[in-house]
Subunit: 152 residues, 2 copies
DNA sequence: ATTTAAAAGTCAAAGAAAGTCTAAAAGGGG
DNA sequence: CCCCTTTTAGACTTTCTTTGACTTTTAAAT
């Protein structure tokens, strides 16, 4: 059973593909009706899968004729990308968030598959598990260190 | 009576056979129900029989629609090389030893400069420094995990 | 201006997985 | 037979997803 959230995520990313838009507009209730889910699930997808670190910005308007606009952000320098990503990572980051971020770096062709796998291997949950439970902190540090290299 | 764990192990390995997949996805509760055992027994089988050293990587997702993905890495030729390197690494490795090893991998053209730098970034002393002083242990785990990828 | 209705936002509870930890049971070697 | 290791079971925890009730904002209608 595929997750609804994944389906919705894929659907929205499809919209970007078609005609290679930088911006996509949706109506939350419409989309919810289309997928037969709660409107707040659309919000959930947006906040977990279309974050700044993943290269998207959301803005929206309430009220009649309201809508949600999802924009792919353009970063012109690697330094800028680095800063945004570091902000997103913060002082700790879960496996999931980290992988979402890596997927984005891959999609943007900052890293290739092999590099993707190397990095995943480095931040793997089992690998960095320690007596103290500081996995997420550790992962954040490793990620930042590596990303500095790949955006060099 | 054959051990349940062995049966489950064989079953999962069967799945790899069918169609020669490199990756197999299971649902822990499903499988447990199928074999009429505790879900945690599935976990037990995975942690004892599908370790990195045995050439597998596990990766999972909790929550609705969650699953466990088991990937087979390292086919025979490289498996041997891998074991040798792992033995060399042991349960801990200093920064210097690690870098010597990486230099060697580089000279043997198993990794390129960029990959070398990525890996160095991951095992950097500052990066993996922890409250308890388990840097070298941590580094050993990270190295082993990454090397499995680069020998793939 | 005021009201109304049509959006989107928020938050918390319920649900659906997998993970962890420990105790008990079963095997196996000496 | 006894001790040590491996296996099995189960209770409890953590993480992620889904749902729904309630709130806020705003355009349109009166």
């Amino acid at each position: 059973m595929p997750r609804m959230s994944d389906v919705i995520e894929a659907f929205i990313k499809e919209l970007f593909q078609e005609g290679s838009y930088q911006t996509v507009e949706i109506q939350r209730n419409e989309l919810a009706k289309y997928f037969d889910c709660a409107p707040s699930q659309i919000s959930y997808v947006l906040t977990t899968r279309f974050t700044l670190g993943q290269g998207y910005r959301i803005d929206s308007q309430k009220g009649g004729g309201g809508h949600i606009r999802i924009s792919r952000i353009l970063v012109d320098t690697n330094a800028q990308a680095y800063r945004i990503i570091c902000d997103q990572i913060g002082s700790e980051i879960s496996k999931n968030q980290a992988e979402a971020l890596l997927r984005h770096l891959y999609e943007q062709k900052h890293i290739n598959v092999r590099e993707l796998n190397i990095i995943k291997a480095a931040i793997d949950d089992q690998v960095i598990s320690t007596p103290l439970n500081i996995k997420d902190k550790l992962r954040a540090k490793i990620m930042k260190s590596i990303i500095a290299v790949v955006l060099e």
